[in-house]
């Protein structure tokens, strides 16, 4: 018995890989269905489901870029500190002295590319009518994913803490001041007034909630760091899983109805 056979017949191996490698169709199905990671994907896909002229593969490319962003992002977190003292310097250090610090550039480029592919994917779905019943809800999930992708871009933009970042976020967050009822420069905030005590002030309005301060400062940097690295990616990951699941349940990729 060869070494490989000995290993594959051992109890440890069998407890990890419960089924042997696929050798016929039935076993292939079993392996797919009983695997935690693989069972999200259907066992078999129609041939036209992978036709580039049908799907453009933009959804798949977007997901691939999301994985690239996640991996490079996590690795960048080891060399970046979101404080006023260190943020800008750490970015420079990543560029100049860190091994494979090129991941910072990859992260940035992939972010731009992901926004582009998200829009192209949305455009393709619209052109092929893949939003029509019963796929309407998947379109809604897609729009949510689009908004969250743009928010990821917005929050990530501040992290290098350079002039471009600070002023871009200043301009963007100034718009929050004009929120109806919740912004100090919007309409209706005077209505939120309990017994003469203003609920909406420059220290308690929507812009303040977003930045954690009255202007873009250290609080804003920390807040955007957490939103960019933890909070929004968690929500995006959940919605991506639902998005893929709905594709299957609504009839499969590139399937006529």
């Amino acid at each position: 018995m060869s070494v490989g056979d000995y290993i594959r017949n051992s109890q440890i191996w069998k407890s990890i890989f419960r089924h042997p490698a696929p050798y016929d169709r039935r076993n292939r199905i079993v392996v797919m269905l009983t695997n935690f990671f693989l069972h999200l994907h259907p066992v078999s896909v129609k041939q036209h489901g992978i036709a580039l002229s049908y799907t453009w593969c933009m959804g798949g490319i977007t997901f691939f870029l999301f994985l690239v962003e996640t991996i490079t992002g996590v690795l960048l977190m080891f060399y970046y500190r979101p404080t006023l003292e260190w943020a800008f310097n750490d970015i420079l250090a990543l560029r100049d002295v860190t091994t494979l610090g090129i991941m910072r550039e990859i992260h940035r480029w992939a972010a731009h590319a992901m926004v582009i592919t998200v829009w192209l994917h949305m455009y393709r779905v619209f052109l092929t009518g893949s939003y029509k019943p019963p796929r309407e809800f998947n379109w809604v999930i897609g729009v949510l994913l689009l908004v969250l992708t743009l928010l990821l871009s917005f929050t990530g933009y501040l992290l290098p803490w350079d002039q471009l970042a600070i002023w871009a976020i200043t301009v963007g967050s100034n718009m929050a001041r004009a929120t109806p009822f919740l912004g100090t420069e919007g309409p209706g905030y005077q209505l939120l007034n309990i017994g003469g005590y203003d609920l909406i002030t420059s220290a308690s309005d929507a812009k303040f909630l977003l930045l954690g301060g009255r202007f873009v400062g250290e609080n804003a940097l920390n807040r955007f760091y957490i939103l960019h690295c933890v909070a929004i990616p968690l929500v995006v990951a959940g919605l991506i899983a639902v998005h893929f699941w709905r594709v299957r349940k609504d009839g499969g990729i590139s399937q006529p109805l």
């Binding site: 002023w167 100034n174 220290a203 303040f208 909630l209 250290e218």
Partner: protein, 357 residues
């Protein structure tokens, strides 16, 4: 005692083959013995038998003969169409008896059920089938029991059946009353609101909603920090003599975000005002250009006069003034928490300027 259980097909085929082979099939041993085990197996087989019995080809003998022979009514009655035997039995008993008898023939037990279908045809025709098609097992059972059958009137009359229990008479099924919701309270149109409010589910949902709403509000409050490390909004900037006539001081711009301007070009009167260094277009920080005597925003090119009035670029309104006053110690004090917008006429308010002479 426990022989191999035979299916009904096997039993019948076996009996047929033995009949054709002219061997005495008398199951003289167990005419009455009803083995419970065999009965149970017979039940399952009996259920499976009718479809297959319907499919089988016509046999040389009618099944009544076979059953009669199996019953062992008169020991050597060959092919006698006398199903009316002395001791009537249910089908289970017959099958059980046949199993017990044919358990001593292991050779024939190996016949697979499909093969037994072929055997009747193969074994030929000892005698022509009287009716032309084999009756179903139901008919056989009915015939044995003496109930009116479809094609065999020659079946014996009804006989008492000692082994089977008499079927109990069930009381008539009562009419089910319509279901009531909510337990105690009957819901009608009149009291539906009350039912909704009082039922335990309603209470549970209300508490859950209240808890969720409270948690959301608490989360919003949590996200607003109570301690800010920011420059103070009220600060002193020195005596008025520090700011000569016709000058714009950028001393406090970097640290506090205000220009201190001493000018009389707004309304002809000499005032010291504090202008907030925030462009009214999108919030960038303009620069004071001394040589051109104007504030110029680097972001999109908005331009403001020394008084703060916008005159070029995308800025829609003048720069904002912030509060300025004289403190008790003779120092000017700036209060950034109040702002005054010229386009709203607020530059008339005394707190927005410090008059000189």
């Amino acid at each position: 005692m426990a022989k191999k259980k035979l299916s009904t097909q096997e039993i019948l085929a076996q009996l047929r083959s033995e009949k054709a082979g002219k061997s005495a099939v008398e199951p003289a041993a167990e005419p009455v013995a009803a083995e419970p085990v065999g009965s149970e197996a017979g039940n399952g087989d009996a259920a499976a038998a009718p479809p297959t019995a319907a499919k089988s080809k016509p046999t040389p003998k009618s099944t009544q003969d076979i059953l009669a022979a199996a019953r062992g009514s008169a020991a050597d009655k060959p092919a006698a169409a006398q199903p009316a035997a002395a001791t009537p039995k249910s089908t289970q008993d017959i099958l059980a008896a046949a199993r017990g008898q044919s358990g001593g023939d292991p050779a024939t037990t190996d016949a697979a059920p499909p093969e037994t279908q072929a055997q009747p045809a193969a074994t030929g025709s000892a005698s022509a089938p009287p009716s032309g098609e084999m009756p179903s097992l139901q008919d056989m059972v009915r015939a044995v029991r003496g109930e009116p059958a479809t094609a065999e009137p020659a079946v014996a009359a009804a006989k008492p059946q000692p082994q089977t229990k008499p079927k109990p008479t069930l009381p008539p099924i009562p009419i089910k009353p319509p279901a009531r919701r909510g337990g105690k309270r009957q819901e009608t149109r009149r009291n539906v609101l009350l039912t909704l409010l009082v039922s335990p589910f309603a209470w549970a949902w209300m508490f859950l909603s209240a808890a969720t709403a409270a948690s959301t509000l608490a989360l919003a409050r949590f996200m607003m920090p109570n301690v800010l490390v920011e420059p103070p909004t009220k600060f002193k900037i020195g005596p008025p003599s520090d700011y000569p006539e016709g000058t714009v001081s950028t001393k406090w711009k970097a640290a506090r975000g205000v220009w201190i301007v001493n000018t009389d070009q707004y309304d002809g009167e000499s005032n010291i005002v504090a202008l907030a260094s925030v462009c009214t277009h999108l919030g960038c920080t303009p620069n004071w250009l001394e040589s051109e005597q104007k504030f110029k925003c680097p972001c999109h090119g908005s331009g403001f006069r020394v008084t703060g009035i916008n005159f070029e670029g995308p800025a829609p309104r003048p720069l904002e003034r912030v509060g300025i006053s004289l403190a008790e110690d003779g120092m000017l004090e700036v209060d950034k928490s109040v702002k005054f917008q010229e386009e709203l006429g607020q530059w008339e308010i005394p707190a927005s300027y410090y008059p000189l002479a």
